[in-house]
Symmetry: C3
Subunit: 183 residues, 3 copies
């Protein structure tokens, strides 16, 4: 992990309707707003907006990971049970290993608000040096989830060889074990 190095974040919105212009993508901007409030170390963002097609989502994830060198990719949309929801499938296809705890915790957080959170198939995994996280499509749910789970993201990026991320503890009180702290 390297202190002071810029961390690249990918934000991928999967939505047939937003990608066709039928309505505005509010989810990608909600993630960007969270990052701008939470991060205190240098960062850059690379956003993509694609249709709910598994091969297109896979290509976008690979490009953000392999070409744009994103340490973290946050997806939004396409995690429900409907036939066009394929973001988890695309994520599993491009990751070498999965982190089942993120899906479990994200569903547990959303279940405090709506019982239909049980239907979400969100997952997370690692492709090379990139952590990929699936978030739901609703901007309100995105914020509820990121406020809580992002606390584990900086240490995860350390462990997979990325830049040293720091956060504003008023927004996200991120945690590292004592031996991993550099600040």
């Amino acid at each position: 992990m390297s202190v002071g190095e810029t961390c690249n974040f990918g934000v991928l919105t999967a939505s047939d309707r937003a990608s066709s212009g039928e309505y505005e993508d509010l989810s990608g901007p909600a993630i960007e707003e969270f990052l701008s409030q939470a991060l205190t170390s240098p960062w850059k963002i690379c956003r993509r907006l694609v249709a709910d097609e598994q091969s297109i989502i896979e290509d976008a994830l690979k490009s953000l990971s392999d070409d744009e060198n994103c340490s973290v990719i946050i997806t939004t949309g396409g995690t429900g049970p409907a036939p066009r929801d394929v973001t988890p499938e695309a994520t599993e296809a491009v990751c070498e290993r999965l982190l089942p705890g993120f899906g479990e915790q994200m569903r547990a957080i959303s279940l405090r608000h709506v019982p239909t959170a049980v239907l979400s198939r969100q997952t997370a995994g690692i492709r090379g040096s990139t952590l990929i996280l699936n978030l739901p499509g609703s901007p309100r749910s995105i914020r509820e989830i990121l406020d809580e789970i992002f606390a584990a993201v900086p240490y995860c990026v350390d462990l997979i060889g990325g830049p040293y991320i720091t956060t504003d503890s008023k927004i996200v009180d991120s945690f590292r074990p004592p031996h991993a702290r550099r600040d």
Copy 2:
């Protein structure tokens, strides 16, 4: 989703002893009693009682989904760690996609009552337009679980193209996002 259309429910009991007549199947009737109390939209039930054999369970699930056009199949039994417990394997084999949240939430509910709930391998998934849910074998656990998780079933059935299900809010306060409400 179609308001007023009859929804077919399949109830499958997997049990060597109940299917051989060694004892009475109490779990299938417990599920039927729950449905009769909870549902306020038109419904029909199709019950099956089979031995703990993976191929037999798979055939019964396929028949309930493909021939009987069940929108929801609720299984009971065969979800533990014993060698004859094979209901989750049969479920995974016939589903195109899994919904991991149901297994997580059902175990969390049962863990409030018994620590051995951690041993349950219950899962859920979707085959075509059918939601398949694994429940444990004990009638008391069945009720504890259905009272809570059924709140997400009507909206799930909407999303996979089934009839519009409504419930008695005194039994199950089922939830749909505002744009999906028809009542």
Copy 3:
């Protein structure tokens, strides 16, 4: 299940640094101390200390299960997201079936203490008549987890055909359904 029969426990530490002698293995002894406090039925322990290599971990798990007839194998270490963490992969490779509830519950327990518990990929499964449980590497986390989840281990061992395990209820209040009790 056989009352009075000795139960063999395998304890496997996966750690590059402990196995090379760079530092002392504290996790294996922490598990052994827990067992010595918790168990009131006859038991024996078989400990292994190996590097974080998937094939070596798999061989050790197979040997503890097939040659040493362990009814329970508890691993420690190698469950994080770093490239050298491969204990869950080795566990899945040697098990015929997985018990997802253990990973879910262990992460939920550790999340009460540190948000980075979400990164753990701990799993559990069954190989023949052996229950394999992945624990994290930190001795403190080990104890927090075992104090809680071990309550389900004796009944699980009953169900997969092992000896009848009893515990000191002041340490672990293990649970069996009434029909399975022999004490």
